[in-house]
């Protein structure tokens, strides 16, 4: 029989989990075990500061960062940049999307830059108001056209939403997220909740 080497951390975690499971088998309340388990969740993602694009070329990192920031800005709550969304989009394009979608994204980003050129200023040189107008215009046109494959601006939008609303700040500041809900209640008034629960 093969024996898997386990790190001390893994052994400790295993012991904690074993105890949690045992507790639950007994009479101790679920929230007590929940507290034990939550202590074991993985550490936060590394800080945004320095990431080297794996996929973005030329101006793409800058363009995508501006778009993500415009779609989900920091307001009274965190925004896309607080959740490292540009790095998320870069890794999605690098690792998840197939080569045809990657090419489509590169070409689409270049087209977006060309189309948003105004008064001799490239998109990245425009002020925030002009950039916001350009992004809104591109979004409205893309939504109206309803084309496949999805245009660059909608790919960037979808990934911004996905990256932000699967991030810690995106979830915890906007939804009632419980790692361990402990029970399911099928039909309750929404008005009793402060925020919507985390929908799968």
């Amino acid at each position: 029989m093969s024996i898997v080497e386990e790190s001390p951390e893994m052994l400790q975690r295993r012991e904690v989990l074993r105890r949690a499971a045992w507790l639950l088998g007994g009479a101790v309340s679920a929230p007590a075990a929940l507290a034990i388990l939550q202590g074991c969740s993985a550490k936060d993602a590394p800080a945004a500061a320095d990431w080297t694009p794996k996929f973005f070329k030329g101006n793409e990192a800058g363009v995508v960062t501006a778009i993500a920031d415009i779609i989900i800005p920091k307001t009274d709550t965190s925004g896309a940049l607080d959740a490292n969304v540009p790095a998320f989009i870069d890794s999605m394009m690098a690792d998840v999307y197939a080569s045809d979608a990657q090419q489509h994204f590169h070409a689409g980003c270049a087209e977006f830059e060309a189309a948003t050129q105004a008064d001799g200023k490239a998109f990245l040189q425009q002020d925030r108001a002009a950039q916001t107008a350009a992004v809104t215009q591109a979004l409205e046109a893309a939504v109206a056209a309803d084309q496949q494959p999805r245009p660059f601006i909608l790919m960037a939008r979808e990934l911004t939403l996905l990256g932000f609303y699967t991030s810690r700040v995106g979830i915890t500041e906007n939804m009632e997220y419980q790692a361990v809900p402990t029970a399911y209640h099928g039909c309750v008034p929404l008005s009793q909740m402060k925020k919507p629960v985390y929908w799968e």
């Binding site: 969740s41 939403l161 996905l162 029970a183 399911y184 929404l190 929908w199």
Partner: protein, 561 residues
């Protein structure tokens, strides 16, 4: 010195193997459980407590995984949260003469870790269908014979559900049912009133309340996380890792060995019995023999039939116990050719809390009572209603604070359902071995050729149109029917490769899952199924395995094996 000799050998540690191990060890048999994959121990599941932000790539499957696991990933099941439970297809190839989705996990617990936990009894209608319609061969077991074993399986595993009094879906011993949500309750009422159809909450192997026995102290109640596929550190759902194998281990009678690929059953001509199994170590390639008085094949319908086809001798030149020529034939699954969904207006101030690891179920109503169709058998639906999340703004021009506020509002409701249809057994749907081509262990290549045929095609029309009719009758909008190109195997209910029957000329196993021609070998995974019914089959495998193991112990005591 370590012994290679046991009272019993169980090949496979999944849904069926776990039950065989538990029953045999509890009856005092020194039992060796052989698993071809790696070790997994409850409650060590590597991703079980990860939050959404702990998972890479928004939990979307990467191109690298797609390249390593083209079959597993084409089905949509694997994600970064669970891909470690699915095999590397490049290392575990097989030949698809027709597309065949073989979803597998090579690890202790097998697919009992990833299963969808839906647990239904087959009914008298299902056990009698073949005989009444003259299709294939009759089941050698009646509902009444297996019912006490369903009781045993349900009580030990812990199945939640509601008693409904339906002849085509017998009630059992249930823990409290999950709630239907507000929209599902409305849908239930409307299709009952307008169409006389019954919708019930799914019956699932999640503990909605503590177990009614004290045999599984390692298990706690379901915490409504709905992350079951990752493995549950609470033991909130039934798997062999969380439930049956710990029971077997506590007897002190189990030896569990991982990374051991059984490739042959050893047959002794003089004794007229199987004496053991041959094994290759998955990591070292070392070959060993293990011997036992009784052998339980629980390696899955494809896996067990593979080992039996590969076990040739002068007595069994066409594969172990294959006097009938049916070994490897009659592959069935459940036909799942599409999905129907709709948008639900209103109910905006209604919600649910917690994440339910279960959905609703619409039991088969076709060819039940007066509802006659132009095909044999029928189908059931599984589905759910839910509120939509942030992704509803993927195609929208809303930005900024306005967007953030809109996402914070609960989205409108949607409802969707998928039909699972019975597939008849056809001799032509088969698997075989290509001895000219070898895998990395030097074992023959598996070839599979199975398709849905005329009866299934006729049924498919009703599977989609009935769903659309019900959604429309309930008043829901934008009813959408999506047709999928179904590959056999995609429902992960493959079965029938060593069917049971009373006639040894037409079947491989007898009514106690014993190989007709070699009574100390039992096959108790999906291989034994004579027809597929349309219900999820795991509970039936549990019941038949428990019954077979108890029969084996009795026969050993009587000196019959």
């Amino acid at each position: 010195m370590e012994t290679n000799s046991f009272d019993a050998i169980v090949v496979g540690s999944g849904m069926s193997g776990g039950w065989a191990a538990k029953e045999l060890t509890e009856k005092g048999l020194k039992t060796l459980v052989l698993e071809r994959g790696r070790m997994v121990r409850h409650p060590d599941y590597p991703t079980a407590t990860k939050d959404p932000w702990d998972l890479p790539h928004g939990n979307r499957i990467t191109q690298e995984t797609r390249e390593r696991k083209p079959v597993q990933s084409r089905t949509g099941y694997p994600s970064p949260a669970n891909t470690h439970w699915f095999v590397d297809d490049l290392e575990n190839p097989y030949v698809e003469e027709q597309p065949f989705d073989w979803l597998r996990g090579y690890h202790v617990g097998g697919r009992s870790i990833m299963w969808a936990r839906q647990s239904y009894r087959l009914s008298p209608l299902d056990f009698e269908g073949n005989a009444k319609e003259g299709w294939a061969i009759p089941w050698p077991v009646s509902y009444e014979e297996i019912a006490p074993w369903y009781d045993k399986a349900e009580i030990f595993a812990g199945i939640s559900g509601s008693k409904e009094g339906l002849a085509q879906l017998p009630d059992g011993h249930f823990l409290p049912p999950h709630d239907l949500n507000c929209v599902e309750m409305e849908f239930k009422q409307r299709i009952a009133e307008k169409m006389g159809r019954k919708l019930i909450i799914g019956r699932c192997a999640n503990l909605t309340a503590p177990l009614t026995h004290n045999e599984s102290p390692q298990r706690g109640t379901c915490q409504a996380r709905n992350l079951c596929i990752r493995g549950c550190p609470f033991g909130g759902y039934f798997s062999s890792v969380s439930a049956t194998l710990p029971s077997a281990e506590r007897t002190g009678n189990m030896t569990l060995k991982s990374d051991q690929i059984v490739y042959e059953i050893i047959y002794d001509n003089e004794k007229g019995k199987a004496t053991g199994v041959r094994v290759i170590d998955a990591n070292t390639g070392k070959q060993s023999d293990y011997s036992a008085r009784v052998i339980f094949m629980c390696a899955s319908a494809i896996g067990s039939a593979y080992i039996m086809l590969n076990s040739v001798s002068s007595r069994f030149p066409n594969g172990f116990g294959n006097d009938s020529g049916e070994l490897g034939h009659n592959i069935m699954d459940h036909n799942k050719p599409g999905n129907s969904s709709a948008q639900v207006e209103g109910h905006m101030d209604e919600a649910y809390t917690g994440r339910r690891p279960n959905g609703f179920y619409i039991p088969r109503y076709q060819n039940v009572g007066k509802d006659k169709r132009d095909y044999l058998r029928g189908f059931g639906y599984q589905g759910r209603a839910q509120r939509t999340n942030f992704a509803r703004f993927n195609n929208s021009a809303l930005i900024g604070d306005e967007l953030k506020r809109a996402v914070r509002e609960a989205g409108p409701w949607t409802i969707g359902m998928t039909a699972f249809g019975e597939i008849l057994p056809y001799h032509e749907n088969h698997m075989r071995l290509d001895r000219d081509r070898k895998d990395k262990h030097g074992l023959p290549m598996l070839v599979v050729n199975a398709v849905v045929r005329e009866n299934e095609r006729k049924m498919e029309k009703d599977m989609t149109t009935d769903a659309a009719e019900m959604l429309e009758a309930a008043g829901y909008k934008n009813v959408t029917v999506r047709s999928d190109n179904f590959n056999v195997g995609n429902s992960i209910h493959e079965m029938g490769t060593a069917r049971m029957g009373t006639d040894p000329k037409k079947s491989v196993l007898n009514k106690f899952n014993q190989v007709h021609a070699c009574k100390n070998v039992f096959v108790t995974d999906g291989s034994f199924m004579v027809s597929s019914a349309c219900q999820n089959p795991s509970l039936t495998y549990m019941a038949f395995t428990a019954r077979a193991a108890n029969h084996a112990v009795e026969e050993l005591k009587k000196g019959n094996l």
